[in-house]
């Protein structure tokens, strides 16, 4: 391992350099810039492979290596190295990020072909890859935070990529800002968590903070506080309830961005944080419970929203939200769930990326149309897209043997594992998980058939949908295969679980409250029911081109269950009121208060000035009076002094 460890920094370095070249290089790099971007991403992918390969070669207990680069921050008892931690967990992410990332780079070469600023786009993509790798490779919370906000920045730049020169430019910019700010709200949690950690353990690096003896020294209260702060951060980054509002708007970015950042990798960083901080959470059961609840709520929330969206990207975004809800839920279940959380994260990374890219190629074919009510019957025109998305669809439904099944089913089983003292938990969360699976089946089927199925196309005649260039559909194929096979490869015999054990620890086997076969079958039944329902509604019958008014629930779901309205009324309006108040206060109280001073003085001045009447006699009188007054004062004071 140690012979190749030196390569690790280049995982981050190469894309970073790529981004730098593309940004500083200016127009000169326009011609070949995009290929440089692809190359950079691919290069770190290769390095990732090498490291992965060597790590598989090493015995399990030696699979966690900290590679120290240089002392980053050393002051007042806080010593943080700039160091990378390579272990199974981080390498899984490295593989995901670089592999999917590279595919999406390639896809973008074609997708962004006509965009004058393609170079900038690739610079941002590389920046993202570098930041994401920093996030997952960091060996301390502080460095993790650097990647954490780095991906936030990249996401900001990419969501707002089209922030000028288009009718929707301003909206895109606003969406980007919204994403960044809501992420920052989560980041407050990470900062607070770091403060608590430093106060509690005197360090911020994983090696120290996550070791058992340090955690033993932490009181459960502190641990809970830290856990909840971390959860807040995770919610911001992973669009979990209640900080989920930004993800839908984030779809304003180019589709490859949605695929890479807002489906496959960045949004799952929250899950990574949870799993990485597993030891802390285990020291704080309350925090764990909250994590599970947040996960459960979000997975339902996302699923419900997904059922009503007509915009294909927004529907996928909602589904992402919901799927991450599953991962969160798993991450809250302790060692039993960690592995499946990451596993689902991995598989989801593939099939969701595939679905997004598919959606992208559909939009590409339909002239950037995103409304599914304007699609339909595309299977004939976009066969490759149809098939690959189909694989993704089956995967996300969790139909065996497609990859989703292996990961999601694991999570559902884990959800059913009873917690001593709280028997209700297993039932509640288990049911939620199953229910979620059903709804997922419904909206994904809806999406799939509204797009490809249906009796007759719902687009105008002058559109001639066709597959994009090979650069676009090859990545689709790769991802499709991945969505189909990955689960089988890694899932059978728990390969993946054992692979992660060095990091997340071994989960001794618990029996779920229901026998496993029962769970599996019931889940499948629910899923199939959901799918059939959707098939009946959107494949068998006609889909109206204009969205019907729908039930209250539908309308609510279309509007993301009024999350924006809630934020508006609960947060923004009051905050704005406060701000206005402050503004007025500063102008009319503070500032005026200060300016009052000279006014008062000059008023006195004007008064005294009257005494200067110009009459000699009054001057003389003043003098005489002065003499008397002073005499009296002198006498009085001394008199008093004598009295003492």
């Amino acid at each position: 391992m140690n012979d190749v460890i030196g390569l690790a920094p280049w995982l981050i370095g190469i894309p970073l350099i790529g981004a730098a070249i593309l940004l500083l290089g200016g127009k000169a790099t326009d011609r070949w810039g995009h290929w440089l971007g692809v190359a950079a991403s691919a290069a770190s992918g290769v390095i990732g492979f090498i490291l992965m390969f060597r790590m598989i070669g090493t015995p399990a207990e030696e699979r966690s290596v900290d590679h120290h680069l240089w002392t980053w921050l050393s002051a007042g008892g806080l010593d943080v190295d700039l160091g990378l931690r390579l272990d199974p967990l981080s390498l899984v992410f490295v593989m995901l990020v670089t592999f999917v990332g590279t595919l999406i780079h390639v896809y973008s070469v074609a997708y962004m072909d006509h965009d004058p600023h393609r170079r900038r786009f690739f610079a941002y993509l590389n920046l993202f890859v570098a930041a994401m790798l920093t996030l997952v490779l960091a060996d301390s919370y502080l460095l993790l935070f650097v990647g954490w906000e780095g991906v936030g920045l990249a996401s900001y730049l990419l969501i707002g990529f089209w922030d000028t020169g288009r009718p929707s430019a301003r909206e895109n910019a606003v969406a980007a800002k919204k994403a960044f700010v809501m992420n920052r709200i989560g980041d407050m949690g990470l900062i607070a968590a770091m403060a608590l950690l430093f106060a509690g353990t005197g360090a911020l690096d994983f090696a120290t903070t996550l070791s058992d003896d340090t955690l033993g020294s932490l009181s459960e209260g502190t641990a809970t506080a830290i856990g909840l702060c971390l959860l807040l951060a995770a919610c911001g980054k992973s669009a979990q309830f209640p900080l989920q509002a930004w993800l839908g708007d984030a779809m304003a970015g180019p589709t490859p961005v949605s695929a890479l950042i807002h489906a496959a990798t960045m949004v799952t960083a929250g899950v990574y944080l949870m799993v990485r901080s597993g030891p802390i959470l285990e020291a704080a059961p309350t925090a764990q419970l909250v994590v599970v609840i947040v996960g459960a709520v979000t997975l339902l929330f996302g699923a419900v929203v997904g059922t009503a969206k007509d915009d294909i990207k927004k529907a996928l975004a909602a589904s992402t939200m919901s799927q991450i809800g599953y991962m969160m839920l798993a991450a809250g279940l302790g060692p039993a769930g960690y592995a499946f959380a990451i596993f689902h994260l991995l598989t989801h990374g593939f099939f969701k990326a595939g679905l997004f890219l598919g959606a992208g190629s559909v939009m590409h074919a339909m002239g950037d149309q995103t409304d599914m009510r304007r699609f339909g019957g595309l299977s004939r025109f976009l066969p490759i897209t149809w098939i690959t998305m189909g694989l993704g669809w089956l995967a996300i439904l969790g139909i065996p043997p497609f990859s989703g099944f292996w990961s999601k089913d694991g999570i559902i089983e884990a959800a059913f594992i009873p917690v001593e003292g709280q028997p209700w938990r297993a039932w509640v969360f288990g049911t939620v998980a199953v229910l979620g699976a059903g709804i997922t089946a419904f909206y994904m089927t809806r999406l799939f058939f509204m797009t490809f199925g249906g009796r007759r196309p719902r687009w105008t005649e002058n559109q001639h949908p066709h597959e994009g260039s090979p650069l676009m559909w090859w990545p689709l194929v790769f991802l499709g295969v991945g969505s189909a096979a990955l689960g089988l490869v890694l899932g059978v015999g728990g390969t993946f679980v054992t692979w992660l054990e060095p990091v997340v620890g071994h989960a001794e086997h618990h029996e779920p409250v229901l026998p496993v076969p029962v769970i599996i079958t019931s889940t499948l039944v629910v899923v199939v029911l959901g799918a059939l329902l959707a098939f009946r509604m959107y494949a068998m019958s006609l889909v109206p081109e204009e969205a019907p008014r729908g039930s209250f629930l539908t309308r609510a779901a279309r509007r993301d269950l009024y999350q924006d309205a809630a934020n508006e009324t609960l947060v923004l309006k009051p905050a704005h009121g406060v701000a206005r108040l402050l503004q007025v206060g500063d102008r009319d109280v503070v500032d005026r208060g200060w300016s009052l001073l000279p006014q008062v003085l000059s008023w006195f001045g004007a008064v005294f000035r009257k005494a200067q009447s110009g009459y000699v006699r009054s001057y003389a009188a003043g003098m005489a009076g002065g003499v008397l007054v002073i005499a009296v004062v002198a006498w009085l004071v001394v008199g008093l002094g004598g009295a003492q």
Binding site: L601, S602, G605, F608, V637
Partner: protein, 593 residues
């Protein structure tokens, strides 16, 4: 047949006085015998030489005085280092003052009326002006005043002090009345100054009488001894206290402390500006020096034996100091006329000086001397600048000629003393403005100028005397003071000069009204020049005849420029490297005055 025994007199100690007063006498003779062409030059040279000589003698005297103070003719002249220092400062400032007085500027006119006795606007006056008469008597008068001041600052004998008071006052009364322009104001200033001054000196001398009644002597040190011995008769303390009080009041009047300040703004405004500068600087030095001597000799002179007396005096000074600072600064804030503003600033400075003096401890003497020097330099410099900022009237038809016309067309009139008129001076005359700004900053006590070191010393003095709260008050007061200096700064440096004629014309008219300016230059026809009422009519005249008044800066013929430069440089040097001078004045506090 007893033979005559000549008194033992230390002539060297008297030399500075003798030189100055003697020169004054000679000056009178010059008026009589020297032909008119060279008279002015002779007078100027004589005056400057006398002051320089006096200073030379003082320099010679200094080493021996700091070792051992001397009393000449039984204390009528008592040279302590403090007194001698005061004399030196007076000599220096007077020298600079004379330079400013002597400057005729490129207009060829000095600031004094050709025939002060002539009624404004009469044909006789016109004649006097046309024939280029000049009143060179001002120089002997100045010398007499300086002599009086030097004596005033350095005597132990209250009567001598009284005489010195008159010797310095009477010439000033006269000088105030001799302004070339705004004659009415000038005369009014003289009248007010005289009446109030006479009143004050009456109070002073009555106080002396009472003290004499108590002590049977008018020598401060002896008085102090009497105080020490205790009261000869019951109820005599009343005599002493009220007597000292009256004497102090008489001095505070000269210092210009509230509530005895009322004359200051009017006189400073009305008097010819060079005289104002001279007066503001030198008189204050003399008066403060005398005040310190009286107070300290009586109170701590013999070891502060009578706490009551000391306490009462301290209270008087503290009360007056507070009043003076407050009134000086606060009223200064609302002034619109530069000369008046400087007058109020001098009142405020009297307050700060008193804050130091109120500390009642020997070291204060040296800080006081330094303060007086710093203040005097800034004041003379500032007023010198004022003399160069003039109004220029530009008429369609070239008006009646009065005095040669400066560069550019139109007629140069009196000083433009409205602060508003100073707008844009920074562009017209950057160096002059810079100097004036420097003087203002020094008065405001901004570090790296002499004024700051001075203020620091004063407040330190108060704190040494245990009056730290008074020091804090002083600090707050100086914040306010800063405010009105800054106001002038803003106008001069940042504001643009108004260009369009109408506005300036009317502005100047308003200026004329508010300062009651009825300068005979502005209106040769005597009709209007009676009172403010008439001033209104003459403004109509101005507006109707489309004349415009613009503000110009006349070039100095040299002396004034030298004075300004010296003041400016000295102000900076005393601010950055004050230690040599501080070292000198520090010796002044070796002895109780």
């Amino acid at each position: 047949m007893t033979e005559f025994v000549a008194p033992e007199i230390d002539w060297l100690a008297l030399a500075p006085l003798i030189v100055v007063l003697g020169a004054g006498v000679v000056g009178v003779l010059i008026e009589a015998f020297v032909p008119e062409k060279v008279r002015r030059t002779t007078q100027i040279v004589l005056a400057l030489a006398a002051l320089a000589g006096a200073f030379a003698f003082i320099a010679v005297l200094w080493p021996q005085i700091v070792v051992q103070p001397v009393q000449v003719v039984g204390g009528s002249l008592t040279l302590t280092p403090f007194a001698l220092g005061a004399q030196g400062i007076i000599a220096v400032l007077a020298f600079l003052g004379v330079l400013v007085v002597a400057d005729r500027t490129t207009t060829g006119q000095d600031a004094f009326a050709p025939a002060a006795s002539a009624v404004p606007g009469t044909p006789y006056e016109d004649l006097a002006r046309r024939s280029g008469l000049e009143q060179t008597e001002i120089y002997p008068l100045l010398l007499f005043a300086v002599g009086g001041m030097m004596l005033f600052a350095s005597t132990d004998d209250l009567i001598v002090m009284f005489i010195a008071l008159e010797v310095l006052s009477l010439p000033l009364y006269v000088l105030c009345a001799t302004a070339r322009r705004r004659r009415l104001l000038s005369q009014e200033a003289a009248a007010k100054y005289f009446l109030l001054g006479a009143f004050a000196s009456a109070l002073f001398i009555f106080g002396v009488a009472l003290i004499y009644g108590f002590a049977g002597t008018v020598r401060l040190l002896e008085i102090a001894q009497r105080v020490q011995q205790g009261l000869p008769l019951e109820g005599m303390s009343v005599l002493l206290v009220s007597g000292v009080l009256l004497v102090v009041v008489g001095l505070l009047f000269k210092v210009g402390a509230v509530p005895f300040h009322a004359w200051t703004p009017d006189v400073y405004t009305g008097a010819p500006t060079p005289i104002t500068g001279f007066m503001a600087a030198c008189t204050k030095v003399a008066a403060v020096a005398a005040l310190v001597e009286v107070l300290y000799r009586i109170s701590i002179g013999v070891g502060g034996v009578s706490p009551d007396i000391m306490r009462q005096l301290q209270i008087v000074i503290v009360v007056v100091a507070i009043l003076t600072m407050v009134v000086g600064t606060v009223v200064g804030m609302v002034q619109t006329d530069v000369k008046r503003l400087l007058a109020y600033s001098s009142i405020a400075h009297a307050g700060f000086l008193l804050v130091g003096i109120a500390g009642f401890n020997a070291p204060v003497q040296s800080s006081t001397l330094f303060y007086l020097l710093a203040y005097g330099l800034a004041t003379i410099g500032a007023f010198a600048v004022v003399t160069l900022v003039r109004e220029r009237r530009i008429t369609s038809g070239t008006g009646e000629d009065n005095g040669p016309v400066g560069e550019g067309e139109g007629v140069v009139l009196g000083e433009a003393t409205e602060i508003a008129q100073w707008a844009g001076l920074g562009r017209k005359a950057p160096w002059l403005t810079a100097a004036f700004a420097l003087f203002l900053l020094s008065m405001a006590g901004i570090p790296l100028t002499a004024g700051f070191i001075a203020k620091f010393g004063a407040f330190t003095g108060a704190t040494t005397g245990g009056l730290w709260w008074l020091a804090v008050l002083g600090v707050l007061a100086s914040v306010v003071a800063v405010a009105f200096y800054v106001r002038v700064l803003v106008v001069m440096v940042f504001q643009k000069a108004p260009d369009e004629p109408e506005s300036t014309g009317t502005e100047a008219v308003e200026a004329g009204l508010s300062t009651g300016s009825t300068s005979e230059d502005a209106v040769p026809t005597s009709g209007g020049a009676v009172s403010a009422g008439a001033a209104a009519t003459l403004t109509k005249v101005r507006v109707t005849s489309a004349q415009r008044i613009v503000v110009t800066v006349v070039r100095s013929r040299g002396p004034a420029a030298v004075a300004i430069a010296v003041c400016a440089i000295a102000t900076v040097i005393l601010g950055v490297f004050p230690s040599p001078v501080l070292g000198l004045v520090e010796q002044a506090s070796k002895f109780v005055p």
